[in-house]
């Protein structure tokens, strides 16, 4: 099962490779990893999406906590969270297709961030399902390039079922 882990780390040299090395060294699967500084100086937040059964995820969480520069680890599978990722898609867009592409972009509340004679670059934000859907829909026009962030996530303020 897929788990989104939110990992607060001391932003010191080598911390990324400690985390990445833990996954590769112990044979854990990592789907995406996103790192960026937080508001607190010297602290970064990593959002890791990993696969595995319960016992593997338990080991991943424990092993992450064991790393000295790791401050906290939260598993957002047990907590309600907002999760988003972003994708940039460069799509073939000759005149005949352009209107249809723009309509899809509109439905998905995406933004066109770059235009040329026969291409559109579209920015789309959403959870992984939405990203999958738009990639799917636009692929028939021919996606020339794709750049995706990993997942980022925050705990929801109200934990309502």
């Amino acid at each position: 099962m897929k788990h989104t882990l939110s990992v607060m780390v001391e932003n010191e040299p080598g911390v990324l490779s400690r985390v990445a090395g833990l996954f590769s060294g112990r044979g854990f699967n990592i789907e995406s990893l996103n790192v960026a500084p937080t508001l607190e100086k010297g602290v970064s937040l990593m959002t890791i999406v990993a696969h595995g059964d319960e016992s593997i995820i338990e080991q991943i969480v424990k092993q992450l906590r064991k790393l000295v520069p790791v401050i906290t680890v939260k598993d957002f599978t047990e907590i309600k969270a907002v999760e988003r990722e972003m994708v940039l898609l460069k799509v073939n867009a000759e005149d005949s297709k352009r209107a249809e592409i723009l309509r899809i972009t509109d439905i998905f509340r995406c933004k066109v961030v770059d235009v040329s004679i026969d291409e559109l670059t579209i920015e789309c934000t959403g959870d992984s399902g939405k990203i999958k859907a738009i990639v799917n829909l636009l692929s028939r026009f021919g996606i020339k390039e794709i750049a995706r962030t990993g997942n980022v996530a925050l705990k929801r303020a109200m934990q309502i079922d």
Binding site: G14, K62, R65, V68
Partner: protein
């Protein structure tokens, strides 16, 4: 007053109570070496950096203190990697200082540059590259703190040459607190009560103790629990000595692949298994799905990652073994006299004794050939079990573990997790430095002793009278045993056809050398060798194709033992 980084480093070591450093100099650490004579630190010059790290490890295991190793950049640093991994697998507190090229050159493939922090990231508890002399003292303090606390382990500090030369005022932090590092030491009292309840109700309890009991110095608490509640004890290789090996009533010997019949049968049949400071290694459990099938398993360990890693346990208890066992003791003291434990466990203990009688730890002795087990028994008799014994890895190690009845913690030093051939001799060197007046014996094989034989010069030069007993069977015996049993005797590359003359080798280094070829000479010559006041090699020509039994084939259940 401002001090150089080198001076600061040595001051830090003094503050940490370090009296000896094992090392080897080089360009990147020459400034540190320049400052050593003006400090109280003794430096022992090894002949290879692997010797330095194992010696620091042996020193740490024998004393329970942190061992320290100092080497130069590049090859000096990479030569310590095996030793670092050895210490990491066995949770031994060692602090390694490596030289590094000057910071402006880092990343330029400079002479003798390696990214040792990158290389050792997965085999250290933590490691540091110090980039500013003002961070040095705090980093060293943290390194020792991390190495010693929680689940101990090796910590490496990489010191660029320019940092060591920069100056700043020396201010040693009194204490350290890291918000991201808080070892869980105190046990959960609810869990403790649960365990106490389980002990009260168990009919067939068994203690399975590991290296954690030794590193947390909780052998007294463990002994109390076993003796007062009449609970039999088995142990991992790493845990030998926590419970006295000469206690015939409750001690079952080691468990696992080369464990005793009674220990493995007891694990299989117990209804309560108390795992204390052990981590359910595959060499211990055999086939996981058939491990302790009837038992409620309690697992006490300071490292949460050890719990539920290999075996799913019923009562996890994350805590330092000492505080957990003390809390358990407190809880049990209240009810201790309500139960006649001897009577409660009589049937169980009788069953265990029966297994012991059925298949005791044994070997078929020979009139003429010297059996390696016989040699280990003689070492035990002569030393009365009071020596510090180190082992290499392989058959020598298993025979030592089986036939030398380790009585006290910190007196049996062996590479358990990593299984590092070449560990025993330099570790013995470190232990001998820590205890100059104690008899330190390295039980070796003819294969592994050659992996760090160069340290003969170090022990001779530093008057460390380590006694090396080579169980010389002319084979890489453990691999040969596997080839015999599972590979149709295809003895590929395990026969040591060509060997040095170990006696003359010892003499060439200025040590004493003995050879034993006749069984009748074993005791006499060993006694003589142990009485010599300098390093000794005793080359004992033992039966060549002797196997270690019992043996649980890899992947088999603990009850499927091959016996003598």
């Amino acid at each position: 007053m401002e001090l150089t980084g080198a001076q600061i480093l040595l001051k830090c070591l003094e503050e940490e109570g370090v009296d000896v450093v094992f090392g080897f100099p080089g360009g990147a650490v020459i400034d540190i070496y320049d400052a050593i004579p003006n400090s109280s630190i003794e430096h022992i010059l090894v002949r290879h950096e692997q010797g330095a790290i194992h010696a620091a490890d042996g020193y740490a295991r024998a004393t329970g203190k942190a061992g320290v190793c100092l080497v130069t950049s590049g090859p000096g640093a990479t030569n310590t990697v095996t030793g670092i991994a050895t210490a990491y697998m066995d949770s031994i507190p060692v602090v390694i200082f490596t030289g590094q090229v000057p910071t402006p050159l880092i990343g330029n493939d400079a002479f003798q540059e390696v990214d040792i922090v990158g290389i050792t990231r997965s085999c250290t508890k933590h490691n540091y590259l110090v980039q500013d002399v003002r961070d040095l003292a705090r980093t060293v303090k943290q390194a020792f703190y991390l190495a010693r606390t929680g689940r101990p382990g090796p910590v490496l500090v990489d010191l660029p040459k320019d940092v060591v030369n920069q100056k700043c005022t020396f201010d040693y932090p009194e204490s350290i607190s890291l918000r991201s590092y808080n070892p869980h030491l105190k046990p959960h009292i609810g869990q403790i009560r649960k365990v106490a309840g389980l002990i009260r109700n168990a009919e067939r309890p068994l203690i399975y103790s590991g290296g954690g009991v030794i590193s947390s110095k909780s052998h007294e608490e463990l002994r109390w629990l076993a003796r007062e509640m009449k609970i039999p004890v088995t142990s991992t290789l790493m845990g030998l000595g926590a419970y006295p090996g000469d206690d015939e009533e409750l001690w079952l010997g080691m468990l696992g692949m080369h464990g005793t019949y009674s220990a493995n049968m007891a694990v299989h049949n117990c209804d309560l298994l108390l795992a204390v400071g052990a981590r359910f290694d595959d060499r211990v459990t055999g086939k996981i799905s058939e491990f302790a099938p009837y038992a409620t398993i309690v697992h006490i360990d300071v490292d949460p990652t050890s719990i539920q890693k290999n075996v799913s346990v019923h009562v996890p208890l994350v805590a330092d073994c000492k505080s957990a066992l003390s809390a358990l003791q407190k809880e049990l003291k209240a009810v201790k006299d309500e139960v006649n434990w001897q009577r409660k466990h009589e049937q169980w203990l009788e069953q265990i004794a029966e297994w012991g009688r059925l298949h005791p730890l044994n070997y078929i002795d020979d009139e003429e050939k010297i059996k390696p087990q016989y040699v280990v028994e003689k070492i035990y008799e002569i030393t009365k079990g009071d020596a510090i014994v180190c082992t290499e890895v392989g058959q020598n190690q298993m025979w030592a573990a089986q036939f030398y009845k380790v009585k006290e913690p910190n007196t049996f030093l062996t590479s358990g997790g990593l299984g590092t051939m070449g560990y025993g001799f330099p570790a013995a060197m470190g232990a001998q430095r820590a205890f100059p007046d104690k008899l330190v014996v390295n039980i070796a094989g003819d294969g592994s002793i050659q992996m760090n034989i160069q340290e003969m010069m170090t022990v001779v030069c530093n008057k460390l009278p380590v006694k090396i007993v080579i169980l010389n069977n002319g084979y890489l015996g453990m691999v040969r045993q596997w080839q015999e049993l599972f590979y149709k005797k295809n003895y590929c590359s395990t026969c040591m056809e060509a060997q040095p003359d170990f006696v003359r080798l010892a003499e060439a280094y200025g040590a004493a050398g003995y050879r034993i070829t006749e069984k009748k000479d074993v005791e006499k010559v060993l006694r003589e060798a142990f009485a010599v006041d300098k390093p000794v090699i005793v080359d004992v020509r033992v039966a060549q194709e002797e196997n270690v039994y019992p043996m649980v084939p890899a992947g088999a259940s603990l009850t499927e033992m091959l016996l003598v």
